[in-house]
Symmetry: C2
Subunit: 341 residues, 2 copies
Amino acid sequence: MSAPTPGLAVRVPFAELQALLQAILQRHGCSAAVAAVLAHNCASAQRDGAHSHGVFRIPGYVSTLASGWVDGQAVPAVTDVAAGHVRVDARGGFAQPALAAARALVVDKARSAGIAVLAIHNSHHFAALWPDVEPFANEGLVALSVVNSMTCVVPHGARKPLFGTNPIAFAAPCAGHDPIVFDMATSAMAHGDVQIAARAGERLAEGMGVDAAGQPTTDPKAILEGGALLPFGGHKGSALSMMVELLAAALTGGHFSWEFDWSGHPGAKTPWTGQLIIVIDPSQAEGGRFAERSRELVEQMQAVGLTRMPGERRYREREVAGRDGVALTEQELAGLRELAG
Amino acid sequence: MSAPTPGLAVRVPFAELQALLQAILQRHGCSAAVAAVLAHNCASAQRDGAHSHGVFRIPGYVSTLASGWVDGQAVPAVTDVAAGHVRVDARGGFAQPALAAARALVVDKARSAGIAVLAIHNSHHFAALWPDVEPFANEGLVALSVVNSMTCVVPHGARKPLFGTNPIAFAAPCAGHDPIVFDMATSAMAHGDVQIAARAGERLAEGMGVDAAGQPTTDPKAILEGGALLPFGGHKGSALSMMVELLAAALTGGHFSWEFDWSGHPGAKTPWTGQLIIVIDPSQAEGGRFAERSRELVEQMQAVGLTRMPGERRYREREVAGRDGVALTEQELAGLRELAG
């Protein structure tokens, strides 16, 4: 999650922001169906204060579409593989429309088989991961997702970058509360947050990354320009990042974070990899009281002094945005309007 | 993983060590079936150099069995819930015999449905977690397991301990290699390793835990006597530990790490919680080349300078033990023989 962008000055109704983003994406090469999914995703991130995945990403979408690297018109092909297995070929398009195309089938399978896996390949994921899992929890399901990205993380004990930021997201229902949701890069920081710090001229905390010579640095520009991020939590975060490569790429038929070459597509920004989502139906579990047990966990976490649950900041920002509109800077809004033409 | 115990002086053939451990466990209250499973597990940990879960654990097994806290004779009850869901009531016994009882059914379901979940509750897990997942990878399957334990970890941002050490283990096949396997506590250290450091009079690294007053300490005794561990990797490791509580306890119908009270059973050592195992059949995945892709990942990790893959130290120790016998100290062997009567 990112620090709030300084200088938020205007507030726009969610529907208006979503329509604006959809117009931009359609104007720059997306089909209406793809643009609708991506615009909702991006506006949701902005609404929830996840600024590294909000409108900050729009120039990247425009750039990568213009480069011809990603197909904004792709129609995903869904295959019903087995009682608990759905596969989607995103056909070189974005991962979110692929998920949208397979979502109902995956939910059906999770409810009938108890668990289901959705394997997306030939896909580009350029967004936050929590919007992919939170809706499952809103339907009473537990969801875990991993996506690999592009080489920018040095495995613990290695000399050179290999892994992507490789996030893991998890969502679970909680009786009487918003779902419990987290979305964490397995890198020490999310790549978008490094970009935001570089743009703001800020230094990073120790232990986030190395420069082009492999030496520790707190300069975000040095990380972005030939340097690399480190995994979070040393060898453990590194092992989790490796697991993400195996699940999101090897198990889906997608590319590893180092396998794609976009050098022929100047302006390309989106990692061409894969995504795995595991969905479990807790209503079939022993006792059948998952959401109540989840609430008991939250209450105990609060009792030992936790003041903020994972995902809670997003819900608070969402509440404010629902009342007052989604916050962004005047420059951002002007930039978006210019891109919409 | 633990540092090697100093003073390893004798080597015993694996089968002999296993038979000795089985005799001890049967003498102290386990049925032959339960003793066989636990003895194989514990001897395997010792063989592979995972000393915090090797014969070091045997006095704990004896103590917890003598206390009446765990039922060493329990016969697990397996329920076939759905096409991808198996549930086991361990009936107050150990988790490993519960897994053994359901294993074939879970493998069948993973192969037919593409994915399956095994939910174990009313169970005690007092062992390493990698022996539970590695065998799935040896059959070409991918396995992920979580188990919660007993309150000894302060959630990130909280004042008091709540979570257990809550490990996550993962195993995946790798063509022409041993499976890729990791087993990590979501605490900064495994509890058994803190005990070993305390016994050896060693200090810990910074950031592992707090004393009874909640202050950072490097004294393992201060962590064990009223203090607590910290999660690995700050808020991210803490979120993963929370996820383990939800998956291993809420989703299985088991107890959370803080929910059981063994005060009426002096000598009780084993957390009475739950365990979740997710098994995926990668042969149904796009491309069907999972194990080859897994090997390509390993080769790339080696190419960027990684000298040791997760799990590799265990395989090396195993190889030596297969040739020369399993290493333990003379005192350990004498202690085991005394316990065998």
